[in-house]
């Protein structure tokens, strides 16, 4: 391992590669901040540029863009409640309320430190655990993945619904239904397209996330006559720029960061799970661990509620590289794009990469740590300026949110059908928001829909159509048991609350 670290450091610490990490982090942050242009778009844009570099440099640049975009996504989640990536949806639960209370600088600082700590800790875990972690991933089978996705969806429905579990479950089903539109991945049979060619490839994730978050948020602000910028108008530039975290908040973060980084990292390692599940699970776990007084603050600007998903999503980013590099299986949509780039370099990812191209494997791991330091240096001083976005008057902010959303979709497809579809989904989402139907479960279900179907397909085919696969393996049974426990716990809590009332 020491030899590997040295190889990694030698490659990552060349002037060119340090410059690439810096550029990647900087552009990633800017692109990630723009709602609609998340890490996938950012990395996809980088692929043609990286073809001129050697594989290690190209991947280091893309890794920098990835971290930068995730941090940038957190920034737009906190400031605009418009997460550009699903991994930062949970960040908006407490980050946005905190920003609305006039603590945008603080929220961004908590996010920056949590991201840094999460990323750094996970890079250390990765250093020590990389060889054995591939074995953990290898031990997972389709039934386990399917069960894990059921667990993730149930957990998000239970934790984000504020006592409206059935509404959240309806949103989960709606998200899965939206994900089923388009060609079936195996047979290429079109489903729910109603002979519309524009739907053949399915509905884009960015479209759904922009419609249900950014656009419907903008419409809700107008509809409810809210002014999200009023808080910013009341505070001075110094207050807006305050990034100081007090002792009490630091104490909370010290406890949250280690446990969330472990969850984030472990979930990130599992192929397909990624930053989204990691951040939601960390958020849910944190909410259950903290005391009742702190629990009440969740959703209203809790430090723990912001720190947990931020730590976890960055830890998951590092973790998601493990299956991609060691197994050749992408851990997330973003690493899938990177996998494509890796193949473009003529590098075959998989267990042999470790031996044949150790400089690629180790330099990426080392550049993760360098990237985290650069992100922190880059973002903390810029936070007061980034936070000024909130001071833009509502009359300007709303059209600009709509503009970024529509542009985000337009540059992806160059087709006006997607714009109409986005407006349609946004109108429905705005109406449902009025009646407290939560949107995060819909997003998570939409992201996981394809993978869930794929794993159910494999499980059912392997078990010859029998549902026994759900309890045949101990691991699957344990995950499902956890799911059942979450549901029972939620029902018990709801009933107990009612009785108490």
């Amino acid at each position: 391992m020491i030899e590997g670290i040295l190889i990694g450091l030698t490659t990552a610490l060349t002037l060119q590669n340090i410059l690439m990490v810096m550029l990647g982090c900087f552009f990633g942050t800017i692109i990630g901040m723009l709602p609609g242009l998340g890490p996938m778009t950012a990395i996809a844009l980088m692929i043609p540029i990286t073809y001129g570099f050697d594989p290690a440099t190209g991947l280091i640049l893309m890794a920098g863009v990835y971290y930068g975009a995730v941090f940038g996504g957190s920034t737009s989640s906190i400031l605009l409640n418009a997460p550009g990536v699903p991994g930062t949806v949970a960040t908006s639960f407490d980050g946005y309320p905190m920003a609305q209370q006039g603590k945008a600088g603080k929220a961004l600082a908590i996010a920056a430190w949590s991201s840094f700590a999460g990323g750094t800790l996970s890079a250390i875990y990765l250093l020590f655990m990389a060889p054995s972690l591939s074995k953990v991933s290898l031990s997972f089978r389709s039934p386990d993945y399917f069960a894990l996705m059921i667990l993730g969806l149930t957990a998000i429905a239970a934790f984000s619904s504020k006592g409206q579990f059935l509404k959240a479950m309806m949103m989960v089903v709606l998200g899965l239904m939206l994900a089923s539109v388009g060609q079936d991945s195996l047979s290429d049979i079109t489903r729910f397209t109603f002979n519309n060619m524009n739907l053949t490839d399915g509905i884009s994730f960015v479209l759904v996330v922009m419609a249900t978050f950014a656009m419907s948020e903008a419409l809700t602000i107008i509809l409810k006559r809210n002014d999200p910028t009023s808080a910013a108008k009341q505070v001075s530039l110094t207050e807006l720029g305050s990034i100081k975290i007090n002792k009490e908040e630091r104490t909370k973060m010290y406890k949250t960061i280690p446990r969330s980084s472990v969850i984030g990292f472990l979930i990130g390692v599992l192929p397909g799970a990624g930053a989204t599940i990691a951040s939601f699970l960390a958020y849910g776990m944190e909410r259950n661990i903290v005391n009742d007084e702190e629990k009440e603050k969740f959703g209203k600007g809790s430090v723990n509620g912001l720190s947990a998903p931020e730590t976890a999503n960055n830890a998951a980013c590092s973790g998601s590289f493990v299956p991609m590099l060691t197994l050749g299986i992408p851990g997330s949509g973003t690493t899938a794009v990177m996998l494509g780039a890796l193949l473009g370099f003529g590098v075959q990812p998989g267990p042999r990469l470790y031996m044949t191209n150790p400089e690629i494997f180790w330099s990426i791991i080392m550049s993760m740590y360098i990237g985290m330091v650069i992100l922190l240096i880059l973002n903390l001083p810029l936070i007061p300026y980034i936070a000024r976005i909130l001071a833009v008057p509502k009359n300007y902010l709303i059209p600009l949110i709509l503009f970024f959303s529509i542009t985000g979709i337009y540059v992806m497809s160059f087709n006006n059908f997607d714009i109409y579809l986005m407006i349609g989904i946004a109108v429905v989402a705005t109406f449902m928001r009025l009646y407290d139907f939560p949107m995060p479960p819909l997003i998570l279900a939409f992201v996981l829909g394809g993978l869930m179907e794929e794993n159910l397909r494999r499980s059912l085919l392997l078990s010859n159509g029998s549902w026994e696969f759900l309890w045949d393996r101990t691991l699957t049974a344990c995950i499902l048991l956890t799911t059942i426990l979450i549901v029972v716990w939620h029902i018990y809590k709801t009933m107990f609350k009612k009785t108490k009332g």
């Binding site: 844009l45 043609p48 006592g163 409206q164 059935l166 509404k167 479950m169 309806m170 089903v173 709606l174 899965l176 239904m177 089923s180 079936d184 195996l186 047979s187 049979i189 489903r191 729910f192 419409l219 107008i222 509809l223 409810k224 006559r225 008057p393 509502k394 009359n395 300007y396 709303i398 059209p399 600009l400 709509l402 503009f403 529509i406 542009t407 337009y410 540059v411 160059f414 087709n415 006006n416 714009i419 109409y420 407006i423 109108v427 705005t430 449902m432 009025l434 009646y435 407290d436 139907f437 869930m452 179907e453 159910l456 397909r457 059912l460 085919l461 078990s463 010859n464 159509g465 009612k498």
Partner: protein, 156 residues
Amino acid sequence: MNINTTKVISLLFFIFSAFYLYTAYQIQVFAFDENAPFNARTFPIYLGYAGLFFSGLKLILPDSNTIKVQHKTLEYKKTVILIIIAIIYGATILKVGYFLTTSLFLFSSYYFLGERRWVLMFLLSFPFVAAFMYLLHGVLDIYLRDPFLQSIGVMG
């Protein structure tokens, strides 16, 4: 009579799930796949039943947290205008081009939301879009079709 809107939404979702389920059963699969343990219609069928189950439960069970929305206080007029502007934007962007439609979309949105600082409105529409377009087209190399700019010779 007071109608619980959450129940109405649940009823609509129930009907939607029934339609989804019906459509799922209509998905054409290959003859050799018809009796396979899993084919293109299996997952959608489960989803249809899940939708019926959860929305049915929501309909049947008492709603303890009834959400009451004060419709009179909501700003429908501006919201509808904004949606119409966005639809017009979507309808014209391909024919007219990104620069002009986006600038006009922003300018008209500011206007209908009540803004009257003309200089600021102008700066945050036409020059802003030009700068953003340069970032996308010139720096990030994302092709943006613009018949208007092509017709006046600004874009090649």
